[in-house]
Symmetry: C2
Subunit: 234 residues, 2 copies
DNA sequence: TGCATTTTATTTGTCGACAAGAAATCGACG
DNA sequence: CGTCGATTTCTTGTCGACAAATAAAATGCA
């Protein structure tokens, strides 16, 4: 294998390059590795991935379609800003989707759904145990996405996943600042929610989901008002 | 100026070609001019619009991002099918968004919002009067979009507009089959909804929106079960 | 004739290059 | 010394062409 190492990864399947750069950029943006306002350079990405600008451009178009990057015509393209001003409107939408999806899960779940949900919850608990903030975000989103799937309404799950993605950056800030305090409380609340889902108690599911969501929102808003004061102090 | 007329419309602003073909294809798909399953040929569009395949490709990527077209890798791309099987889940989502946006409009609207809403309602009434099905769809969506805007939650309005677009093809089928019977009832229901929004009666707004949405859903489902029977008879 | 395999043909995905647009740099003039 | 304008530079948008992948057609064989 001495002749092949001139190019370590020369082989790329025909349609895979776009998804690769799309997934990577998406993750880097949502995990705040690329903070809001970061410039996105096409040629830089092109030589980094050893491909032409065309597939990179396609990935950027997709990201722009999801609102993760902003493209000024004929000018630069950059990572979109987090809309702190309308954050409360985001949380209103998030709470509603939490409630709806959990309620529907209690109504329509099947046996196989519960297995997936329990597995996701175990992964979340493990992430909390390991104090891995990034894993907490991912597994938490995966758990709630699984709950939404159990509700058997693809439109709701689509809207919900969209919202979760949009908020992943805010959650990242949240977990970033709280990685000392273990959110064990979330684990317990999740357990309660899963229990009432399994029991098909629709009203309780709605109530617990509302409380769970509003608790998170309250924590985050507390964090941001504190940060606001810090910003003003500067 | 005899040398310049070899190309009648050679001038195109630099970034406008993409939006042009995007808007056109989008309208043609949503208005069922391009029915589900229609093949989309890149080179055909390229020569039709007198431009390279690159900007057409970008427009197609955007449309695929919104789920309006399906792209099989390395193979054809076609207009996406309407998901009749999960249609009731769509209506569940639509009813909920109708309720939420109308409720929020009653809560948060301002004086200038009512002006816009009244204007949209007048346009819808005019479309009904003229028995213009396409205009009914457009003005009805515009009216409800304006109501959502008055709710001052950009996330809800975004999700709602997305849903309205996805359902525009179903509504097209609906109005197509009912263009003899005037949906004057919708006009009246709209008037009632606008009245309670103006009165800031949140509960009544929620109730009327729910009834309005469910009435529409009921009509459409009635239509489709009838069509189902017709299909079975073939 | 029927089936498997090769060949052709068509369509997509990718590339390198060029042109347009806007910011930055430089220079001239008041 | 500052301001306005031209030029340069840098990035994006577009183009034409080529390569890969797949379906369709053609060929060979039993």
């Amino acid at each position: 294998m001495t002749t092949a190492d001139t190019k370590s990864i020369p082989e790329r399947k025909r349609g895979s390059g776009v998804r690769m750069v799309y997934d990577l950029l998406r993750d880097e943006i949502l995990d705040l590795v690329l903070p809001p306002g970061s410039p996105i350079d096409e040629v830089q990405l092109a030589e980094r991935f050893k491909m032409s600008r065309t597939p990179i451009r396609e990935a950027l178009v997709r990201l722009a379609g999801e609102g993760l990057i902003d493209t000024l015509p004929n000018r630069s393209t950059m990572v979109s800003n987090i809309d702190f001003l309308n954050m409360h409107t985001y949380f209103d939408a998030l709470v509603l989707m939490y409630r709806v999806t959990t309620r529907l899960a209690a109504e329509h779940h099947r046996a196989e759904d519960l297995k997936v949900i329990h597995a996701r919850q175990a992964e979340f608990a493990a992430a909390v145990q390991a104090q891995d903030a990034l894993a907490m975000i991912a597994t938490n989103a995966a758990l709630h996405s699984a709950i939404a799937e159990a509700g058997r309404n693809p439109y709701f799950t689509g809207l919900f996943n969209r919202l979760l993605d949009e908020g992943r950056r805010i959650l990242r800030l949240y977990y970033q600042s709280y990685n000392d305090r273990l959110p064990q409380r979330f684990v317990d609340e999740h357990e309660d929610m899963i229990a009432v889902i399994a029991a098909r108690d629709v009203d309780a599911a709605d109530r617990l989901a509302k409380a769970h969501a509003e608790q998170i929102v309250h924590q985050i808003q507390k964090l941001f008002t504190r940060n606001e004061r810090l910003d003003m102090a500067l």
